[in-house]
């Protein structure tokens, strides 16, 4: 196949390109320049582009830089700011996957006549009994990135390759070292690539939207404090509320931008039985019944039941937790997994946890 390898300048994607070459594919590397502003961990700084270019050269493949910074602003950065301004908690990495890597980049690859796009994510492509494909958790459970890939549907997977998902991170690093790639010792990227450690999220938001003071009330509506920027407050948050000491830990249970009110309560007040998801993306057809639900990139999945008849993609779904669960901040991505049977080539039959869908917490 002719494969466009998305090279971020990190170790995973450079090893991914090497694996594809080993498998006999015709490989061309591409780095997306996404963010024009300040960045320290980011995936699109000049030094990362240089690392990507150098890795490509070391592997003997051609390399392009695609400037998608306008699309990144439009689909990732601006919605990120708008989401916080509305008191929600966005997940920009998922929006980047949804809109940039698995949309704009896929179309670019189509235009240039590539058969597939490959990324260095720690997730696998699982082939179901009917031959259709699903995102499955990566082999290295500590590094699993299937959560951030839920917008990649079964039909997208017909032209997406995720070779790194079969490997542990340690193996990736040792392979990079064996190949002499300069990315071998690079630290994993963390946090949001367009937010710098020195300035932080608050300064970033303050430069792009107005931040508002808000009162903090308890579950009876009694004012117990104040915060400088309600846009910085997230449901479930415990620290940074400037509260006088109390016997029991208190958490944010509600954020209402329209009335500039942050409500706090006990751990019990934070718990709920129900979770409603909007903007549902089903991997293939809608599922029903029990699912394992993961609410953050590195969270554990908990069991829940889809209570309403699952609607179409873009619709909503109501989940009932099997055990009471902390409220999920509105705006957060929530991913549903199910165990499926199946057999990897040459492996004994085993159940695999695959992404069946995901959505945005209401």
């Amino acid at each position: 196949m002719r494969v466009l390898a998305a090279l971020s300048g990190g170790v995973d994607s450079s090893v991914m390109a090497a694996l594809l070459l080993d498998e006999g594919h015709e490989v061309v590397g591409a780095t997306m320049k996404l963010w024009g502003g300040e960045s320290d961990s980011g995936c699109c700084s000049v030094s990362d582009v240089e690392d990507a270019r150098r890795s490509a050269a070391q592997l003997g493949i051609d390399h392009h830089v695609f400037n998608f910074s306008d699309e990144f602003d439009e689909y990732v950065v601006n919605p990120y700011v708008a989401s916080y301004a509305n008191g929600r908690t966005p997940n920009p990495c998922i929006e980047c996957n949804r809109r940039l890597k698995f949309d704009v980049l896929l179309r670019r690859a189509d235009m240039l006549g590539f058969d597939a796009v490959a990324t260095g994510h720690h997730a696998r492509v699982h082939v179901m009994a009917d031959g259709s494909k699903r995102i499955a958790r990566g082999h290295d459970s500590k590094k699993d990135q299937s959560y951030v890939l839920y917008p990649v549907t079964s039909s997208d997977l017909e032209r997406v390759l995720l070779p790194i998902g079969e490997m542990t991170k340690d193996r990736v690093r040792s392979m990079a070292a064996e190949l002499g790639l300069r990315t071998a010792p690079k630290p994993d990227s963390q946090d949001v690539c367009f937010i710098t450690k020195s300035d932080g999220r608050e300064a970033f938001l303050a430069a792009r939207t107005e931040l508002h003071q808000a009162r903090v009330v308890d579950s009876d509506g009694v004012v117990v404090g104040a915060v400088d920027a309600i846009e910085m407050v997230t449901i479930g948050q415990r620290r940074g509320l400037n509260l006088a000491g109390g016997s029991e830990p208190r958490f944010v249970t509600d954020v209402d931008v329209s009335t500039s009110t942050v409500t706090i309560g006990t751990r019990r007040d934070l718990m709920t039985d129900v979770l409603v998801l909007d903007q549902i993306v089903w991997a293939a057809e809608a599922v029903t019944g029990q699912v394992m639900v993961q609410c953050s990139a590195h969270g554990t999945a908990e069991a829940a039941l889809i209570t309403d008849a699952a609607g179409p993609s873009d619709g909503s779904v109501t989940l009932r937790w099997m055990e009471p669960h902390r409220r999920v901040a509105p705006g957060q991505s929530v991913v549903m997994y199910q165990l499926v049977g199946g057999r990897e080539l040459g492996e004994p039959p085993a159940a695999t946890e695959v992404v069946v869908g995901g959505g945005i917490a209401r």
Binding site: T31, I61, D62, V65, F66, S69, R108, M111, G113
Partner: protein, 387 residues
């Protein structure tokens, strides 16, 4: 990987043009037995300094300056920076430049708190706008900088009226210096005439068949200049650092060839460009030549393909075997929006699909015919995927 891609049609000569074989040959002795440091006084040093003196005379003669006016620099960017700042400490006052200058001028002017002057839709400096800027800064004006030929669209500026205006605004005791960035012009125009009114002129060797890493700032007598790079006091104290003798010899060799072939090459390249534009216009709808070709240097052919984006066009051209550019590139290699097209108020729908094809001394008729054959297919594919 394409280390030195064979068979690729190269229409990016304004970015850089191949080093001529004669240049490489002329440079070789100075990386072999004539390796001396020209600042020394012994026989090995003298062998190098003689070659450098000769090169300086050749270059000065072709630019229309005195040998003592020529300061060798690391290239066009250093020459531009040196001209605008005036050296260390920088000239007092407010620098003025056109809004379409290369960043090597524009960014220095901005860093010094200077002003920019508008251009018209053909990228010519607006005399009214320059007048307004001079009215405002008056005798505080430290320097005026207007490029001779624009690097993206190729428009040539007539420096005569600009020099007249600058002279008019100069205080009696001090001429406001006029600088011209002639980096793109030097491969095509006779600078003896075209740059005669400029007090400072920047030139770069690699745009005209010389090596990279060498250029010159011409500073005419009476124009104040201080060194920007301090050290051993080379170049009469105006630019320190051991000169790259081989590169300087290569620069002179290339410029001499450009000068002797100018009329023939100009006529031939204008013919190629005509054929190229006519060929594209025949087979592609909604294609706009950004500048009337009578106003540009012969090699530059800036075109806007409506309903496509530059980056996709360039990628598809490259897959089909042709390389060109979309104007400026940032350090990561990605295409950047053009400040030149913005200043010219080119409509967004045209700007999106802007491509600079630039023809060089070595471009053949066959290159142009092949380009005219392959471009339409790439354009229709880019248009099909454009959103």
């Amino acid at each position: 990987m394409s280390e030195s891609p064979e068979g690729v049609i190269y229409l990016d000569h304004a970015a850089t043009t191949p080093t001529r074989p004669e240049v490489v040959e002329a440079m070789a002795p100075f990386m072999n037995d004539r390796f001396g440091n020209p600042s020394g006084s012994h026989v090995v040093a003298r062998s190098a300094v003689n070659a450098m003196d000769e090169a300086r005379e050749v270059i000065a003669g072709i630019i229309g300056a005195e040998p003592g006016d020529v300061i060798f620099t690391s290239g066009g960017t250093e020459a531009d920076n040196h001209a605008i700042t005036g050296g260390l400490p920088s000239r007092s006052g407010v620098p003025i430049c056109s809004a379409v200058e290369h960043h090597a001028v524009l960014d220095v002017v901005e860093a010094l708190g200077g002003r920019t002057v508008a251009v018209d839709s053909q990228c010519r400096v607006s005399i009214d706008s320059l007048k307004a800027a001079l009215d405002e800064t008056g005798e505080e004006t430290s320097i005026v900088s207007v490029m001779l030929a624009n690097n993206e669209v190729g428009t040539i500026n007539d420096l005569g009226p600009i020099a007249d205006l600058v002279a008019e605004y100069s205080p009696q005791e001090r001429r406001i210096p006029l600088h011209t960035d002639a980096v793109q012009a030097a491969a095509w125009l006779d600078l003896r005439a075209a740059a005669s009114r400029a007090d400072l002129i920047s030139v770069s060797a690699h745009k005209l068949g010389g090596p990279k890493g060498i250029g010159a700032l011409v500073v005419r007598k009476g124009t104040p200049i201080r060194p920007m790079i301090l050290g051993g006091g080379q170049e009469r104290g105006r630019r320190s650092g051991t000169p790259s003798v081989a590169a300087i010899v290569g620069f002179a060799t290339a410029l001499r060839m450009v000068d002797s072939e100018r009329d023939l090459v100009t006529e031939r390249v204008i013919g190629l460009r005509r054929r190229f534009i006519d060929g594209l216009s025949e087979s592609i709808d909604e294609i706009v030549a950004t500048i009337d070709d009578a106003r540009t240097v012969p090699g530059t052919c800036h075109v806007c393909f409506e309903g496509a984006d530059s980056e996709s066009l360039l990628l598809l051209f490259e897959s089909a075997g042709l390389v060109a550019s979309a104007g400026s590139s940032c350090s990561s290699g990605a295409s950047e929006p053009s400040h030149v097209l913005s200043a010219m108020s080119v409509a967004d729908k045209l700007r999106d699909g802007a491509i600079r094809f630039s023809i060089g001394h070595g471009t053949t008729e066959d290159d142009i015919e092949r380009a005219v054959d392959l471009i339409p297919g790439a354009v229709s594919r880019a248009r099909a995927f454009f959103s």
